[in-house]
Point group: none
DNA sequence: TTGTATCCCATAAAAACCCATGTTATCCCA
DNA sequence: TGGGATAACATGGGTTTTTATGGGATACAA
């Protein structure tokens, strides 16, 4: 599960460190599957304001979801284009960095620093200022609607007490 | 189940001992799941006055709850941001401590001592003075409204006492 | 060449790890 | 039931490892 928010530098070569715990999540996902690719996959979000990213697992999930659509459904083609056509593999270098292509950086307005936001199954990459402004709003909205969150912690399966 | 209230020191390195019985709860939860992570996860509460924390189980429950929201519900994005984006994994060291990041400590006003309050499925972390003041009010409010508590003690299935 | 991507090495700061100690709680046994 | 032995816990400090980050050297393509 991707958690927390981290802001890292994007250097002159376009390289950015992927937060270590994100890397750990991806590496863990990579176990238990053929998993050749060591890196992240990103694509412009539907809103166009940020990049959406994850490991190969996330995009496998998208594939399964898209495969559930009818083969000749025009929406399917649109999804295929938007999800698969627009995404990029960004391999880790030896230090756990990826290089964020210039065209994507330009599109999103990255200038020096980028913010990784963990969102459970996936993460997003934002220009720090844009994210900060948005986070304030989201926090407010979430707080106002927190009743939507059902605290559904499962009852534990008979915790075995030792004698 | 997280129970009781404990106040521990936060040392110069930002380390705080998680109460031993809280650790026991988390360890017990960690059995019976893949459970790689050994530690707690915390995030600023909606009120912003304290940290809310729990084991990975709590946040899995949040995930399930959030997944139940419609994919394009703006509330869902807000929840993802507020819950996942703002939370942090705090791994235990060998002595059962976590290090409480400076930015969170500053945000909440921790200066040396922190209070863990068990709340059943989760716990909260407060500056001791703030918690103490609040506890008085809560106690009063709870007392005034104690009629809301249904007497739910289940009828015990004839507990067989020997001797 | 010139720009771009990849690989390797260096480093300061932060995080994780290891060991030590006083104090409290728990156990055991007479 | 008293009290000493034992274990568990909270806490401190030093050391090692990771992490984020920079820069140079190399390979490739436009």
């Amino acid at each position: 599960m991707f958690l927390s928010t981290t802001t890292n530098n994007r250097d002159a070569k376009g390289r950015v460190s992927v937060p270590a715990d994100f890397r750990a999540v991806i590496t863990a996902q990579a176990q238990g599957r053929d998993a050749a690719f060591d890196g992240i996959i990103v694509r412009p979000s539907f809103s166009g304001e940020c990049l959406e990213g994850g490991g190969e697992q996330l995009f496998e999930a998208y594939r399964a979801s898209i495969n559930a659509l009818d083969y000749f459904d025009p929406n399917r083609e649109a999804m295929e284009q938007a999800i698969f056509g627009e995404s990029r593999r960004l391999p880790f270098d030896s230090g756990g960095r990826v290089s964020l292509p210039h065209d994507l950086a330009d599109m999103l307005g990255f200038n020096g620093r980028v913010t990784f936001v963990g969102l459970g199954d996936r993460f997003e990459i934002w220009p720090p200022e844009v994210h900060e402004a948005r986070a304030v709003q989201m926090r407010k909205l979430a707080s106002e609607n927190r009743h939507l969150l059902k605290p559904i912690t499962p009852v534990m399966p008979a915790m075995s007490q030792k004698s």
